[in-house]
Symmetry: C2
Subunit: 356 residues, 2 copies
């Protein structure tokens, strides 16, 4: 008795046909529910297929049709709850249409993203849902489209290519964040994001079509309303690791006139910034005010509860998936989920301290 037993051979259309005593073509028609098949043949084939436990080989099917029943999802970091939740939305929506999800993580690395798209195309996925890591390097996405694959972007947009893009509208919420802090009396508002750029932030710089651009713009706009100006050195980008995040915090707090409020661009940044503030022994909001993007359950449980900008991440995933399904020719409920972010005021914003 060998260790590796011969795996049971799967029943094929030909097997079913033989068992039913009809031709392969008829069996295929009966099983596939297309073409003309007599009652008699139909029942014979059904019986035989059940008898043999026939399951269509999806690979063979994809071979002829040229596309598989799976869609590729490319994200920067699945470990991030933001993408975890969006992925859940995509997955839920797409399952009903009979697709499975092939997931690739890119670590926000462009080369990895290009490779991932390449690989997924070779797998002949029906379509792609991508959160692109660059808004300018987009050749791989264009080529995917040229090769006849539907591509939908989410969370972030790109320049130069016309692609369906599903993003949350931050314009209102971001402006409100700016006003909230300005009204509370803050002028030195720090902004921390993991967005990768080549140099430090400059006013009016093109931050691509990332949500970060909208969020920064909102605060700038609030400053303009208040007829004031936002010190650009308070915008700290490239905080994508523990070290760089710590450096960004230091940059904001170890200066003659330190930031009196910090806006955290996502929940990972918030976690880091909160830890940093805690280690420094600063109190929120007495010593420093904090606003974070993304409203996860824990933000309400920290002390004090965080003022956050909530965004419909799950729905964004669903909408992205729907957009893709539409491109793939599926009829999808017309109802569109509203994707607007909104400010949730809790207790982490106060007036700047007197000494400032």
């Amino acid at each position: 008795m060998t260790k590796r037993e011969q795996p049971v051979r799967e029943a094929t259309v030909a097997d079913v046909a033989r068992a039913a005593g009809v031709s392969k073509a008829q069996a295929a028609r009966a099983l596939g529910g297309y073409g003309a098949v007599s009652e008699q043949v139909l029942s014979l084939v059904i019986a035989a297929s059940e008898q043999l436990g026939y399951r269509p080989n999806q690979v063979a099917r994809s071979m002829t049709t040229g596309r598989s029943n799976s869609i590729g999802v490319v994200v920067g970091d699945i470990e991030n709850a933001h993408f975890g939740l969006a992925l859940r939305g995509i997955s839920d929506e797409v399952r009903d249409a009979g697709y499975t999800v092939v997931l690739v993580n890119t670590d926000e690395d462009l080369d990895a993203e290009v490779g991932a798209v390449q690989e997924l195309l070779q797998q002949r996925v029906a379509g792609l849902v991508v959160a692109p890591c660059s808004s300018t390097q987009t050749a791989h996405l264009g080529s995917a489209q040229e090769r006849g694959r539907a591509v939908v972007l989410f969370d972030r947009g790109i320049h130069g290519l016309e692609l369906d893009t599903v993003r949350v509208d931050f314009a209102d919420a971001a402006l409100q964040v700016g006003r909230l802090l300005l009204d509370a009396g803050h002028r030195r508002i720090g902004y921390v994001s993991s967005l990768r750029t080549d140099g430090p932030y400059e006013p009016g710089a093109d931050l691509g079509l990332s949500p970060v651009a909208d969020r920064v713009r909102g605060i700038e706009q609030a400053f303009t309303e208040a007829e004031d100006e936002w010190d650009p050195t308070l915008v700290q980008l490239n905080a994508f690791s523990d070290d760089t995040l710590a450096a960004a915090c230091a940059e904001l707090l170890d200066r003659p006139a330190p930031a009196t409020a910090v806006v955290c661009s996502d929940s990972l940044i918030a976690l880091g910034v909160l830890g940093h503030i805690k280690r420094r022994g600063l109190r929120i909001p007495e010593d420093i005010s904090v606003v974070a993007y993304d409203d996860f359950p824990w933000t309400e449980l920290v002390e004090p509860p965080l003022t956050v900008v909530a965004q419909p991440v799950y729905d964004m995933g669903r909408e992205a998936a729907r957009a893709l399904l539409r491109r793939l020719g599926h009829r999808v409920p017309a109802e569109r989920l509203p994707l607007r972010a909104h400010l949730v005021e809790r207790a982490s914003v106060g007036a700047p301290s007197e000494e400032n």
Copy 2:
């Protein structure tokens, strides 16, 4: 000009062969790096393939080999950071070996899990990594193995089938949790888990091979050491939704002699329990002590910082993937990652209040 332009036809081996002026078989050998190929043919084929931008069609490859270069991952809830992190581990490990991940979410529903495995087999995935939702209903996993697919379980085990299973060792940590609480003076220790069972918990009940079983056993053992007994009605299972979780909390706290400490079986439960405690206006640890499983960054930032059992979730994912790769005949670094949970004492455990 039609809306839908003709997608560019992908170059095939036959195209490359024609361009290189050799037979399809030779071109395939040159591209696949097998069999005997002369220097001259090799360079001709390489040149032609680059010229045409040839990319092998993975579907066609899977067709002949009978397996795709993707592995199926079946989990209960990707939205849960626990699985998100494990998934990341699986994904990282498997990518190096050239596989992609097909992810299916089951919502901890057995029927969905059975369907998912079925679907993945039809897609001819090379292997499966599953966090099974039942430890007894395992026919689908057995059939996957019979059909020649490698199957590896993680997070939880099953009965009756010999399958590689990658789990974190909770024996020590669970016992320590029990001792910690007992030593602090607690006797009415609540336990809340989302594990689905048919009825309420009974001492010695078979909780399957889920981590929950180990965790409950550890506390029971600590009670035995202390020559005391654990009131089984304090073990609240089936808290898998907002409602059921709220009911479990009520069950523990709205009784003549309420629990003085609560152990939360995972981070989702912890989030719910913490919210519940907060809404009741109870103080931690003065009024009630809390211990949670899974050490995510936020657990240190809540007030007070949570005493938790940390577990190497990412490594568990990696190990599961490695076990699968080994089964698939890959040489994988022999070094095994230790998978032991350990208690991290912070500030959410104190003595039970006097009035109790």
